[in-house]
């Protein structure tokens, strides 16, 4: 098992936002977490990534307890986070964004840039451009490319298609499918047709808890069979 989350409780002040959440991820798997706004999906992802400290529970990555580790140490263990808001380092060029990601992993810049260009060849022409000038889709691709630097084993991706045009969503899905063979992913996603194309397994979250787990590929490919559970 690559990742194991056991009995996680998270509070924001006195309000409990995650209730006894447990899930797991096997090597090479792409698991989608779905649920309505406020279901606790992003909080769960951020807690795994080291951004929030839970009040109870355990998070193990490759058999090692990573709970309480700061985000930078979690990242260097091979667990990378792609945020929901698509905020790149706008004042830096696309190449500098990649160099920033490459430096702590000791990966040569040329290899890091090659990874970005491999998932989306058009980025090669944009390497010298300031990242703030990129479109929403290009920013998302840059964020995914940046997360791939340093041979991570697990990507946590928060709503990668939110706010993007249908044609761009198709490109993002293709990119995620193309890197799926090299690493594992947990993708938080509200767009069920995207989930149906991506997921090996689905966790449905409701009111801060895991409401249902779907493992049957036949069911996963038919969102109508579980959309009422959201």
């Amino acid at each position: 098992m690559l990742l194991s989350v056991e009995n996680l409780d998270v509070h924001y002040g006195s309000a409990q936002v995650l209730h006894n959440v447990s899930l797991h991820l096997n090597p090479g798997e792409l698991v989608c977490i779905v649920g309505r706004n406020g279901a606790g999906k992003t909080t769960l992802l951020k807690t795994i990534g080291g951004f929030h400290a839970p009040s109870r529970g355990k998070v193990s990555f490759k058999g090692q307890d990573i709970l309480g580790l700061p985000p930078e140490k979690v990242a260097l263990k091979g667990l990378k986070y792609v945020f929901q808001d698509k905020r790149v380092f706008g004042e830096l060029s696309v190449r500098d964004n990649m160099e920033l990601a490459a430096f702590p992993t000791k990966e040569p810049l040329s290899e890091a840039v090659a990874k970005l260009v491999a998932i989306h060849p058009k980025m090669e022409k944009l390497l010298g451009s300031k990242a703030k000038g990129l479109s929403g889709g290009e920013r998302q691709i840059l964020l995914i490319g940046r997360a791939l630097v340093g041979a991570p084993e697990l990507l946590l991706i928060d709503e990668p298609t939110e706010g993007l045009a249908a044609i761009i969503i198709g490109q993002i899905v293709q990119i995620l499918l193309s890197v799926k063979s090299k690493l594992s992913m947990i993708v938080v996603e509200q767009n069920l047709s995207t989930v149906a194309r991506l997921a090996d397994r689905i966790y449905i979250m409701k009111e801060g808890a895991i409401h249902r787990e779907i493992t049957d590929p036949e069911i996963i490919r038919q969102p109508s069979l579980y959309e009422n559970d959201l």
Binding site: G49, F51, P70, P71, E72, A75, L76, K80, Y81, F83, R87, F89, G90, E91, L92, D96, E99, L100, A101, F103, P104, T105, R146, G150
Partner: protein
């Protein structure tokens, strides 16, 4: 044009050297050493403010520490000018190392005011409890050994030596603010949390940058002690911290030429405007308001656009 100059480190050094050389020989080499010292101080301050986005209201503390470090070394250890400069830098660096881990965790007003508070504390310590050593308000007179042409009482030598120091600082500033360290600094200024998620311990990098800033400020303070051959509490006075802030804003924070222009412009106003305006500080206030509302990127921004 300015950006092109800044992209080439040798050209930057040449332009900075030429500017001070021409200014020095067309006015007074004696006066221009003050300009050079202050510009080094602005560059040190700008490492914290321009590069990290940390505005300090108490940078005179590190300048003063450098000045007293150099002076006390000359009196109590050995009156060697280079040893005194090294001592001043060590004093600045040591303060940065002691205070940095706490201070860099703070943001915005908390960082600015905590620096001011430490500056106030340092000023009080120098003024009263340590007065037997520091000379209190009267300060301490200094003298330094000379070795042939290396004579710090000769203003011609001081001019060339200080100019060499400034060029060294400009070179180091550019080295630090270029890739990959400069990329890290700019990204941290933009969004520190995201930088941490890339695997950086931002706290360590911020402390290192802060220590560089305090060390350069200490260097400026030490050079001033050698220049004046004395040091007193005016060199650690927290009310004077506004001068370096003003110069950095006037020049344009976050780039080496902006800091140099800010240092030169501020000193020019201070040195020469006083001959024509009795309350010249009022002009500075009006100029600051103009910069805040109209020239957000300072002189560098105006000239780079032009």
């Amino acid at each position: 044009m300015l950006k092109r100059i800044e992209q080439s480190p040798p050209l930057t050094l040449l332009v900075v050297a030429a500017a001070f050389f021409v200014y020095g020989y067309s006015t007074s080499l004696f006066k221009i050493t003050d300009f050079i010292i202050f510009t080094i101080f602005v560059l040190g301050f700008d490492m914290a403010y321009g590069q990290m986005g940390k505005l300090s209201f108490g940078h005179m503390l590190y300048y003063g520490a450098g000045s007293y470090g150099a002076g006390l070394c000359a009196i109590h250890v050995y009156p060697d000018p280079f040893l005194a400069i090294l001592a001043g830098m060590i004093f600045g660096a040591a303060l940065g190392l002691i205070l940095g881990p706490v201070l860099v965790k703070l943001k915005g007003a908390a960082f600015a005011l905590s620096n001011l508070a430490f500056n106030q504390l340092g000023y009080f310590l120098v003024l009263v409890p340590f007065a037997p050593v520091t000379g209190g308000e009267d300060g301490i007179s200094l003298s330094f050994n000379s070795y042939g042409f290396i004579d710090f009482s000769d203003f011609n030598f001081r001019f060339y030596f200080y100019l060499a120091c400034l060029l060294g600082v400009v070179f180091l500033y550019q080295r630090f603010t270029r890739a990959p360290y400069g990329i890290f600094l700019r990204a941290t200024k933009e969004n520190e949390i995201r930088v941490r998620f890339l695997g950086y311990n931002t706290q360590v990098f911020k402390v290192v940058t802060f220590v560089i800033s305090t060390t350069l400020s200490g260097l400026a303070g030490a050079l001033n002690a050698l220049n004046l051959q004395f040091t007193n509490t005016s060199l650690i006075d927290p009310t004077r911290s506004v001068e370096v802030i003003f110069a950095a804003l006037m020049g344009g924070a976050g780039n080496v030429l902006g800091a140099v222009m800010g240092g030169m412009a501020f000193m020019t106003i201070r040195q020469y405007l006083a001959d024509y305006l009795v309350r010249w500080e009022m002009f500075l206030g009006i100029a600051l308001l103009f910069i805040a509302f109209k020239l957000r990127k300072g002189l560098y921004g105006v000239l780079a656009k032009g």
